[in-house]
């Protein structure tokens, strides 16, 4: 069994990247995720696995370097925090449009604008609804523990390559800065050029081969009818994600009369709120979406028929609550409770919000 370590979420992201056979990391420092690149630079994976670690001149450069490496069939990633991720949106829509797999990590901080450096979840819309232009989605994973920071790096790349689509880990300053026990993944070797040639022969830029014509990576199409056909193909892909790759966790939902819907660090705080509620005799559970896109629609619908009310708890002014409201299949109250701008809600506040906004309403 692998050794158990005590590590920060951000450090674990770096370690997990090296261990999952990542080929390249391009980034630009920003709080609260600078430890990702710092850890990579200290670990010097280029000496160990040959992985490239490069501090680019900007976030724009980082995401376009990712585009270049991904076009060659490589496992490429970047990480940033909210303002930096905003800068990357052009690159992200191009990656989605060119059907390129990659991993992008957003350790969210308070916004809008340069905002604060403290934790927030106010980038849910940006992450799940596009962010950049055009009809596209990212696969969005929301870790709630340091262990999941490790696990979702490998998972993110797996899903990205399964669908040839960019994947995002949407974390926040709490999960990034916190240290917890973690069991790191076993080392997987980087793919050899032969493996990439074989696996991604029909799309990656690996050179013109005798058995096929040249591959083209682009998101440009001059014929609108062809673009529409391509967009249908993307939509089919998203449908497959929604059918096959929704991840969620239910916590104490079996006998619940009310549920919190919360992801990431907010779901951790809700776990304490559930304890406090149950001490008072209020039966509460949590539905924790793990994939924010594809969203656990069916589970919301199912639970909405079981419970008397739903409170979403987010470190935002209310974003995921819209997806919850769209999917309830019963006439029950669905309300939002949030703190934002870098302020973290306390378990006691959440209990009070449930009592006021749902139970007493």
């Amino acid at each position: 069994m692998a050794e158990v370590k005590l590590m920060k979420g951000n450090e674990v992201l770096a370690e997990a990247a090296i261990r999952c056979g990542c080929d390249a990391y391009y980034g630009y420092p920003i709080t609260p995720q600078s430890e990702v690149m710092e850890t990579l630079m200290l670990r010097k994976p280029w000496e160990e696995t040959g992985m490239v670690v490069l501090q680019a001149e900007s976030e724009l450069a980082s995401i376009n370097m990712v585009y270049g490496a991904a076009a060659c069939g490589k496992k490429a990633m970047t990480s940033s925090s909210s303002p930096g991720i905003s800068l990357m949106q052009e690159g992200l829509t191009y990656l989605a449009g060119a059907e390129l797999p990659c991993l992008v990590i957003d350790v969210v901080r308070g916004g809008p604008g340069l905002g604060t450096i403290q934790p927030a979840q106010s980038d849910y819309f940006q992450a799940t609804k596009g962010g950049g232009h055009g009809d596209y989605h990212l696969i969005v994973l929301a870790p709630a523990s340091v262990q999941e920071m490790n696990d979702f790096v490998g998972l993110g790349f797996d899903l990205a390559f399964k669908y040839r689509n960019p994947a995002m880990i949407l974390a926040d300053g709490v999960i990034g800065q916190m240290m917890e026990k973690v069991q790191l993944s076993e080392y997987k070797p980087r793919w050899t050029q032969e493996e990439i040639d074989k696996m991604s022969d029909n799309w990656a830029l690996t050179g013109k081969k005798a058995h096929r014509s040249h591959n083209t990576v682009t998101s440009l199409e001059l014929d609108s009818y062809k673009q529409e056909v391509f967009n249908h193909k993307l939509q089919e892909k998203y449908k497959l994600m929604e059918e096959n790759d929704v991840l969620f966790e239910e916590i104490q939902c079996e006998d619940a009369e009310y549920i919190f819907v919360a992801y990431g660090s907010a779901s951790r705080i809700c776990q304490k709120a559930v304890q406090l509620c149950r001490e008072k005799g209020i039966k509460v559970g949590i539905l924790r979406p793990i994939t924010l896109y594809p969203f656990p629609k069916k589970e919301i619908a199912r639970l909405s028929k079981q419970v008397k009310g739903i409170l979403t708890v987010e470190m935002s002014a209310g974003q995921m609550v819209e997806d919850v409201r769209l999917n309830v299949a019963n006439n029950i109250p669905v309300e939002h409770y949030g703190r934002f701008g870098g302020v973290i809600p306390t378990p006691e506040e959440i209990v009070e919000a449930l009592e006021k906004q749902i139970i007493g309403a």
């Binding site: 158990v4 005590l6 609260p32 450096i117 403290q118 300053g173 709490v174 800065q177 916190m178 240290m179 917890e180 026990k181 660090s265 951790r268 705080i269 809700c270 776990q271 304490k272 709120a273 559930v274 304890q275 973290i344 809600p345 306390t346 378990p347 006691e348």
Partner: protein, 183 residues
Amino acid sequence: MTEEIIIAGFGGQGVLSMGKILAYSGIMQDQEVAWMPSYGPEMRGGTANVTVILSDERISSPILTKYDTAIVLNQQSMDKFESMVKPGGTLIYDPNGITHEPTRKDINIYKIEGTAIAAEQGNPKVFNMIVLGGFLKVKPIVKLDNVEKGLQKSLPPRHHKMIPMNIEAIQTGMKSVEVVNQL
């Protein structure tokens, strides 16, 4: 068993590393642990605090407003955290720099002269270990040999020669902690 602890003082007092050693000691006895620092645009000499949770179960929130134990190392932290100790909980403080003594009657209060003892011994660096010793005397949630293993894990090998000195400081702290208010 779940123990929710806040350690609070000035930056540079070893608050974060004390928390880290405690967390590592918890891992050594197969517990779940969380270490959550306050972070922000901090500066040297500013306040620093860290929440440390050790539990036999899955840990819920790393963000808390009520603690089983508060380890308080300056007046600002006393002002902020005395009221956040759960009734029946524990407050441990170093009286150095404390101008307003804690007043609550519904919690256990202990005093550890960490700064004074470290200065007497001419080794201010072990201050945080003296305080940790005081805590472990009143709340023996981790065994001393697990602390030693925790130190081995958390310190780079080149610093391992300092482990005996740290263990000694913890033992000094254990002997030096004084009761202020006991329920």
